[in-house]
């Protein structure tokens, strides 16, 4: 089994399984905070998938997208928490 086969048939399916499990929490989540946390984790695992994908395709350019996704994940978490707290304050 070569490295590419291992990454393609073992690592990527396991990461996809992780994404599906997080997505279940994203849909179920009792409170909106759970959904925000699940969204953050979805993007974080997505960065890992991009890293593996760049190895399989031998394309280091994909890592730029991973950097941008990391930025967006942090910004969305901060924005969500800021506005949710503000909404609670005004009530």
């Amino acid at each position: 089994m070569t490295l590419n086969d291992y990454l393609y048939y073992v690592i990527l399916p396991l990461l996809s399984l992780a994404e599906i499990l997080v997505f279940i929490r994203f849909i179920k989540g009792p409170s909106i905070i759970d959904r925000v946390v699940a969204l953050d984790l979805l993007i974080t695992i997505g960065i890992g998938i991009i890293a593996i994908y760049s190895i399989i395709n031998n394309q280091p350019t994909f890592l730029d997208i991973a950097m941008i996704l990391a930025l967006i994940a942090f910004l969305s978490t901060v924005a969500f928490s800021y506005y949710l707290e503000k909404r609670n304050k005004n009530d």
Partner: protein, 136 residues
């Protein structure tokens, strides 16, 4: 030799990402879910990116990977703190099995200020309540 390193990094990283996913679906409480998200996912993604850095063995790729890892390491705790604070204000209940709630009665409900002495906060809260009663 590098192949073995890539195998180890990718396997460990995937394991940690999977553990984070199982944790976020099995944990009983919002706060525990936040804690899982910050710790396990950061390590897992760091290892997966490390696998990419070892595979390409190139200065520009390694620099990019380092930038992403440092960024995630710096921002994950900050984001977790902010979202946990908001979760406390929104009134999410702690898990039944939790033993202690250090923040109980220490937050001013209207200004969201934290005091170390619970009595000061209670005074402020009662003042606020009487003010709102008069307005009503």
């Amino acid at each position: 030799m590098t192949d073995v390193l890539i195998y180890i990094f990718a396997t460990l990283g995937t394991l940690f990402a999977l553990l984070a996913a199982i944790g976020i679906i099995r944990m009983p409480d919002t706060y525990l879910r936040i804690s899982v998200n910050t710790k396990a996912a950061t390590l897992g993604v760091g290892l997966l990116l490390g696998a990419a850095a070892v595979y390409f063995y190139d200065f520009s790729v390694t620099t990019r990977v380092q930038a992403i890892v440092i960024f995630i390491l710096l921002t994950a705790p900050v984001g977790a703190h902010l979202i946990g604070r908001t979760s406390y204000f929104l009134g999410n209940k702690l898990w039944d099995g939790s033993v202690i709630d250090d923040l109980k009665d220490r937050y001013n409900k209207s200004t969201h200020e934290l005091k170390s002495d619970p009595e000061q906060v209670e005074e402020n809260n009662s003042k606020q309540d009487s003010k709102t009663d008069r307005n009503a």
